[in-house]
């Protein structure tokens, strides 16, 4: 039972490059989320989705885009990476109308030089 899987686990980018992080969940959850984790700042919500084909902005959406073309997948894109986007990114999914517990992936560590 895989749960929530994120790829890649590590990536180094140069400023201005683009990349996509993939999140896949096998729990048939409606809700999916992308968070970034920075030291001393906890988890901050970037974007989220309440169902296939829908996305919404979280508290720190600038510089990121997302897509939810299939229920099980939630993609996070960086069109033009900046050093401020160096972080650990966590994907999470949840059922129960979005008010239950979240299930997290193992994280993707991104470094932008």
């Amino acid at each position: 039972n895989a749960g929530v899987t994120q790829t890649p686990k590590f990536r180094v980018l140069k400023t201005g490059q683009s990349m996509t992080l993939l999140c896949a969940q096998d729990m048939n959850h409606e809700y999916m989320y992308w968070y970034r984790q920075d030291p001393g700042m906890g988890l901050r919500l970037i974007h989220y989705s309440v169902g296939e084909g829908t996305t919404a902005k979280g508290e720190v959406p600038d510089g990121y885009n997302v897509s939810r073309l299939k229920k099980q997948n939630f993609l996070l894109g960086l069109e033009s990476a900046a050093p401020s986007q160096t972080s650990v990114y966590f994907c999470a999914s949840g059922g129960t109308g979005g008010i239950g517990e979240l299930f997290f992936g193992e994280g993707s560590r991104l470094t932008v030089l």
């Binding site: 809700y31 989320y33 968070y35 001393g40 700042m41 906890g42 988890l43 901050r44 919500l45 989220y48 309440v50 919404a56 979280g58 966590f90 999470a92 949840g94 109308g97 979005g98 008010i99 239950g100 517990e101 979240l102 997290f104 992936g105 193992e106 994280g107």
Partner: protein, 115 residues
């Protein structure tokens, strides 16, 4: 908007000491409350949760938390910590009435347990 405050950023304890980590939230309506743990190099996983009913909830690995509505608090406790409890702990809240299923997290508390 909801906010979550964790009072201690870094706690250092010796094995067998008792633990209490503070968590306060700002929302006045109905809330669901969670504590998550992140062991070094791992992802977040649920320790315990409160939705309704008995305000004292028990989670995995001997952890418990008490919801005190009048104080907007959900403090995490463990009577006797172990070295393996070294981790970062996050308090989180969501509301069935607002925020469309978004959870708000505190900044986290790093617990270091000395053997």
């Amino acid at each position: 908007a909801q906010s979550v405050s964790q009072h201690n950023h870094h706690v250092i304890l010796s094995e067998a000491a008792s633990l209490e980590l503070g968590c306060n939230y700002s929302y006045g309506g109905t809330v669901n409350l969670f504590w998550y743990v992140q062991y070094p190099g791992q992802h977040l996983q649920l320790l315990l949760k409160y939705f309704s009913g008995d305000p004292l909830v028990k989670g995995i690995k001997g952890f418990e938390a008490e919801f005190i509505k009048s104080k907007f608090s959900f403090n995490l406790r463990k009577p006797s910590v172990q070295w393996s409890d070294t981790a970062e702990y996050f308090c989180a809240v969501n509301s069935p009435n607002t925020n469309a299923g978004k959870s708000t997290f505190g900044d986290g508390t790093t617990l270091t347990v000395k053997p």
